[in-house]
Subunit: 126 residues, 2 copies
DNA sequence: TGCGCATATGCAGGCGGGTCGATGGTGTTG
DNA sequence: CAACACCATCGACCCGCCTGCATATGCGCA
């Protein structure tokens, strides 16, 4: 579960588009699925949303447990998964651990999913 | 698990951006997570990729089992999940069931994930 | 130095998901 | 009409994940 941290970087450069061109490689599919798995959870989506909309774009665990309605260990667990996936970065200041979005991370996923402008691949299919 | 079929449509129109503006709603998070769950699997990503890159942009189950290395029931299972998520559409012609991508589906997901150009939501963060 | 708060980790229970073999339904072919 | 091919569904197994409780670690403060 730690390899996903590098997954985004590795897939970004060679401009791998799962939904364009030739079939995606098996290992690339596993890497992309790993990152998507980190996203595919209601609690984690809400965490990302909460952190993004926080005053300074950052939030500590104590600010997130209440809005989510989940226990503190569970919130830490989700934050860990998001961080290992490369979607969040953690900064410890004093007793608090502040999390903020990695700006390019989600944009990279969105790009990977976006077909490169459908360049008349097949000549107007119907 | 069938509600995800409508999830995309419902989230598209109100221009819900999980990663911009105010925190995402709980039910919206569940819907988006449902669609992402359908994507977050190596076999299903490869299925989408294989179908997209097939000669006519469509493929039947018998063409997909071999490249995936999975049993026919398993492939049908994954195709079902993708179809219910609104990512694939199924057309039965004779004995064969042809699957093809729903063009706007993945693009919609990508748009939902893409932050809308960071429109100075909070006055220059930091 | 000792106490308290914020966070992380371990552990366990319960549920959902991926996979396959077997089976049934349906359309094609000889 | 009979045999066959393609596909969906069912039942079952196993693994991983989400969650909470209990506990450990770390930092600041009196």
């Amino acid at each position: 579960m730690d390899y996903v941290g590098t997954a985004l970087a590795e897939m970004t450069m060679p401009q791998i588009s799962p939904l364009a061109g030739e079939p995606i490689d098996r290992s690339d599919a596993e890497r992309l699925a790993g990152v998507l798995k980190a996203l595919a959870d209601p609690a984690r989506l809400r965490l990302l949303s909460l952190i993004q909309s926080a005053p300074e774009g950052e939030a500590c665990v104590c600010d997130l447990t209440a809005p989510l309605g989940l226990s503190q260990p569970t919130v830490s667990h989700h934050l860990r998964i998001l961080t290992e996936a490369g979607l969040l970065e953690r900064e410890k200041r004093g007793v608090w651990a502040y999390y903020r979005l990695v700006p390019s991370a989600i944009a990279t996923i969105a790009e990977l999913l976006t077909p490169p402008r459908k360049r008349a691949t097949k000549k107007a299919a119907r």
